[in-house]
């Protein structure tokens, strides 16, 4: 196992306003690390800092042992791929073209994707089981399909570390499960290091090796999801009661987290 992404004593925020401080974690190959936290808690700010889109206010981020601040955009993209939320709208590019855009950091300034890049794009679509969507405009795809296209785009970027921003947000039940299965496969099968933010503690229990909770300007964890996700912490972070318990499944017993709704 190699450490691909590491934060040490990191403070994140905008300008001089600190959103969260004292963040330290490491992410290794073959590992899924899940980032939990309520809206407005600083998850997005942390992700943007890790991607080098905004500077760290204190502390350091290391990418493949190199200080993030010392790397060019191209060098960052060689090491770290980003999967944004599959927001609707945008331009009606064909899915294959969107995936090929992931080759930007591997191509010279004036070059467009060639046959080899398009073959890689096809392979990535195939790898995610959506090669039949290659010619479809992404604006016509469902949220789940668009999310898989964006994951394919990150794959052709050929980086060993993957950052996904709420990959299951706005997806239906089936697509959530499909995307989570792919996220797990990327770590286990391809040996990628995966950092994923999520709104669902249960998703962290389902696929993550470690989880951390960003709330009130401070980070709890990382630690095993089963240790992190407790009713008391969820109550403090999200203000709702929840239960965490073991459920017998065909794949064995697993922890499940579900919210409780107070009777009206």
């Amino acid at each position: 196992m190699t450490t691909l992404l590491a934060a040490q004593g990191l403070s994140v925020g905008h300008g001089r306003r600190v959103v969260a401080a004292g963040i330290s974690f490491t992410l290794e190959t073959g590992q899924v690390l899940s980032l939990l936290g309520p809206n407005g808690g600083g998850k997005t700010t942390l992700l943007r800092t890790l991607l080098g889109l905004i500077p760290a206010l204190a502390g350091e981020v290391r990418l493949d042992a190199a200080p993030l601040a010392s790397l060019s955009r191209r060098e960052v993209a060689h090491r770290l791929a980003y999967v944004p939320q599959a927001a609707p709208g945008g331009f009606a590019y064909a899915a294959r073209e969107v995936v090929a855009m992931g080759r930007a950091a591997r191509l010279p300034l004036l070059a467009a994707p060639g046959a080899r890049d398009l073959a890689l794009a096809e392979a990535a679509l195939d790898r995610l089981g959506i090669s039949h969507l290659a010619d479809r405009p992404v604006t016509e795809l469902s949220g789940g399909e668009r999310q898989l296209v964006l994951i394919a785009r990150a794959l052709v970027q050929d980086a060993r570390c993957l950052v996904l921003d709420e990959p299951t947000a706005s997806l239906d039940f089936g697509n959530q499960a499909r995307v989570l299965r792919e996220v797990r496969a990327l770590a286990v099968r391809d040996g990628l290091a995966v950092l994923m933010t999520t709104h669902h503690p249960d998703h962290a229990l389902l696929v993550a090796d470690a989880a951390m909770l960003l709330h009130g300007g401070a980070m709890t964890g990382p630690m095993p999801p089963a240790d992190l996700i407790t009713p008391a912490r969820l109550r403090a972070a999200y203000g709702v009661d929840a239960v965490v318990g073991a459920l017998a499944t065909p794949q064995g017993e697993r922890l499940v987290c579900a919210p409780l709704v107070a009777p009206p």
Partner: protein, 331 residues
């Protein structure tokens, strides 16, 4: 890829028809049959003289101006992710207009007016870029750039208005007004040769960068996460678009509307991929401005300004396309 073939077919056909039409009408029509004789040198009489000295330069000028404005507009709309963007978004037209109006006001010769227009367009965008890099801070760089362009554009508009008030109302003011609406009636072969290198250089820059400019349509964060140095890429593309726009504005005056509307027509025809959209916009822009300029020559007793005709013809055509293409992709 059938859509691509169709789009290219329509673009090329439109340009061919516009060229043949432009040659065939006017005070001295040149039929397609005669054209062959002229080009092969078997016809050397009056038709050849008219063709080489009057008609061909004007057709060439219209093609250059239309192609440059439309390609620059397509690049701007993509990279600024704004369907309302046009080449004058960052003040190139306002700067070129101020330069030309100043030249006319001072009674300078035509070449100097054109030179001032070109320099004014480049200087305006350089000032906008410098201003936005000074005030940028943590803000959205694209928004700051556009707002700086609007602010400086308003200032230059005020300066133009002042010069119009001060200008001689019998000679200078009509010349200024005509220039501000655009015309090719005075374009000579020398004018075109002076404008062509800068315009073509700008076009080549946009064509070479066209795939990478697609990445800017994803938005600042996504493009940077994909490994794109967005600041440098945007600077190259703005420089290319500005070079082309300033050069043709110096040649033809401030022809509005083409850079805004033609890219939309091209997008409805060929989709949003800038690899196709930029060259297709250039093709359609050339055809459209050539058709408009031909009409400007023959429609009235005196030549009509291009800016009026591009708006009068472009608006209904655009609205018709808009109604027809409601189902196709994002605007």
């Amino acid at each position: 890829m059938r859509r691509g073939a169709l789009a290219w077919g329509v673009g090329v056909a439109a340009l061919v028809v516009a060229v043949l039409g432009a040659l065939a009408v006017g005070r001295f029509p040149i039929a397609p049959g005669q054209l062959w004789a002229i080009l092969t040198g078997t016809e050397t009489g009056t038709p050849a003289i008219v063709f080489w000295n009057i008609r061909a330069p004007r057709v060439g000028a219209a093609i250059l101006v239309g192609a440059s404005l439309a390609a620059a507009g397509a690049a701007f709309q993509g990279m600024f992710r704004n369907p309302l963007a046009s080449p004058d978004l960052l003040g190139v037209s306002a700067g070129a207009s101020l330069g030309a109006v100043l030249g006319i006001f001072l009674g300078l010769p035509v070449a100097a007016v054109q030179g001032l227009a070109f320099a004014g367009g480049i200087a305006a965008v350089a000032a906008v870029a410098a201003l936005s890099s000074v005030v940028r801070g943590q803000g959205d760089p694209v928004l700051v750039l556009i707002l700086a362009g609007i602010a400086l554009g308003a200032l230059m508009g005020a300066a133009i208005s002042l010069l119009k008030i001060l200008a001689d109302p019998y000679n200078q003011l009509p010349a200024i007004t005509f220039w501000l609406l655009g015309t090719l009636s005075a374009a000579t072969r020398e004018d075109i040769l002076a404008a062509a290198p800068a315009a073509l250089l700008g076009l080549v820059v946009l064509l070479l960068l066209r795939w990478r400019l697609n990445l800017l349509t994803l938005g600042e964060d996504e493009a940077r996460a994909l490994g794109v140095n967005t600041t440098a890429l945007r600077a190259f593309a703005v420089a290319g678009a500005t070079l082309a726009t300033a050069a043709v504005t110096a040649l033809a005056g401030a022809v509005g509307w083409i850079g805004l509307v033609v890219p939309h027509m091209a997008r409805m025809l060929g989709g949003p991929d800038l690899r196709r959209l930029i060259p297709l916009s250039a093709l359609l822009g050339a055809a459209f401005l050539l058709a408009v300029d031909t009409l400007a020559r023959v429609a009235g007793r005196t030549e009509l300004p291009l800016g009026i005709l591009t708006a009068v013809l472009g608006t209904p055509l655009f609205l018709w396309l808009l109604v027809r293409a409601r189902r196709g992709g994002a605007a």
